[in-house]
């Protein structure tokens, strides 16, 4: 499980699709909350994709079908939060999905975003700072962004 080099950019496909926004979406703290699947992994890794290795379309096709929003995050900035880190991770396709292929090599995960021993406000603060780093990728599919 290797660390991603600094200056890499990763893509977070936020879900689920049930989302209300009045303008172009901003990432929310909850977009970086580990899912139950993420928490089953040791260490807990919030799923992301290296944009240099896996395109948006590939990442979407390898993710559960849903209307997804994509946010881009710089790895160096994630590390500056002091705690989270980003690692390449073996991609495990969901049942019925295409077998593992070279394009899945960009799968990675952000560690250190689980609550752990933090108080709730400390944890939400970490997720809020994480979400502030994320930039909306207008190419991602959305029904809610009129100007995308």
């Amino acid at each position: 499980m290797g660390e991603l080099p600094d200056e890499k950019v990763v893509r977070r496909l936020a879900g689920p699709s049930e989302r209300f926004v009045s303008d172009c979406p901003k990432a929310l703290p909850s977009d970086f909350e580990p899912s139950s699947k993420d928490k089953a992994h040791t260490p807990v890794l919030v799923s992301v994709w290296d944009v240099a290795l896996t395109t948006l379309q590939q990442a979407e096709s390898l993710s559960p079908p849903a209307k997804r929003l994509s946010f881009l995050v710089n790895v160096t900035e994630v590390r500056a939060l002091k705690g989270p880190n980003v690692y390449y991770d073996t991609y495990v396709p969901p049942t019925g999905a295409p077998a593992v292929s070279p394009r899945t090599g960009g799968h990675a995960g952000i560690s250190g975003l689980e609550r752990g021993a933090r108080t709730r406000p400390e944890w939400r603060d970490l997720l809020a700072r994480m979400s502030e780093l994320a930039k909306f990728e207008p190419e991602s599919r959305t029904l809610f962004c009129p100007s995308a």
Partner: protein, 154 residues
């Protein structure tokens, strides 16, 4: 009594009475005025209210979550003129999140399946934050409503 607390308790009381359920609050101009909302919904609130209804009808979230979300909205709308409906999403945990973001602040309310609440607020410029810590509140505390009214206006 603190005016914020009094107005919130009025809303909470109205919405907890069986004769004034959230559908009536949405449908009736008189009921909306009674709980401190403008008589007519603007387009943005209409979309948000419909979004909540859809979440409830599709059983994506519980009825208790939607009722709590509407109570929170009534309280904030009553307190803050021109408040905008929050960004709203359902987390993997099943919690419904209401989020207001401005350049300087972020405020977040988590509504659990039971309808109980947790809150969090952060000043992005100073990094100062506060929030509930596993308190599972029934109502929003006045400190949340009075903290930074401009926060709720986009």
């Amino acid at each position: 009594m603190n005016p914020s607390l009094r107005s919130f308790l009025t809303v909470a009381s109205l919405l907890s009475e069986s004769h004034l359920d959230d559908k009536k609050v949405l449908a009736s101009a008189a009921s909306r005025v009674e709980v401190g909302l403008p008589a007519a919904m603007d387009a943005s609130e209409q979309r948000w209210q419909q979004f909540l209804t859809n979440l409830r009808d599709s059983q994506t979230v519980t009825a208790a979550q939607v009722t709590s979300a509407r109570r929170v909205w009534c309280a904030i709308r009553q307190e803050v003129d021109g408040a905008s409906p929050p960004q709203t999403t359902v987390a993997p945990s099943g919690s419904l999140y209401l989020v207001w973001q401005t350049e300087s602040h972020l405020a977040e309310i988590e509504i659990m399946e039971s309808g109980k609440l947790e809150w969090f607020m952060r000043n992005r410029k100073t990094g100062v934050f506060s929030g509930s810590d596993d308190h599972e509140l029934s109502d929003l505390p006045p400190e949340f409503l009075s903290a930074a009214p401009e926060l709720f206006v986009s």
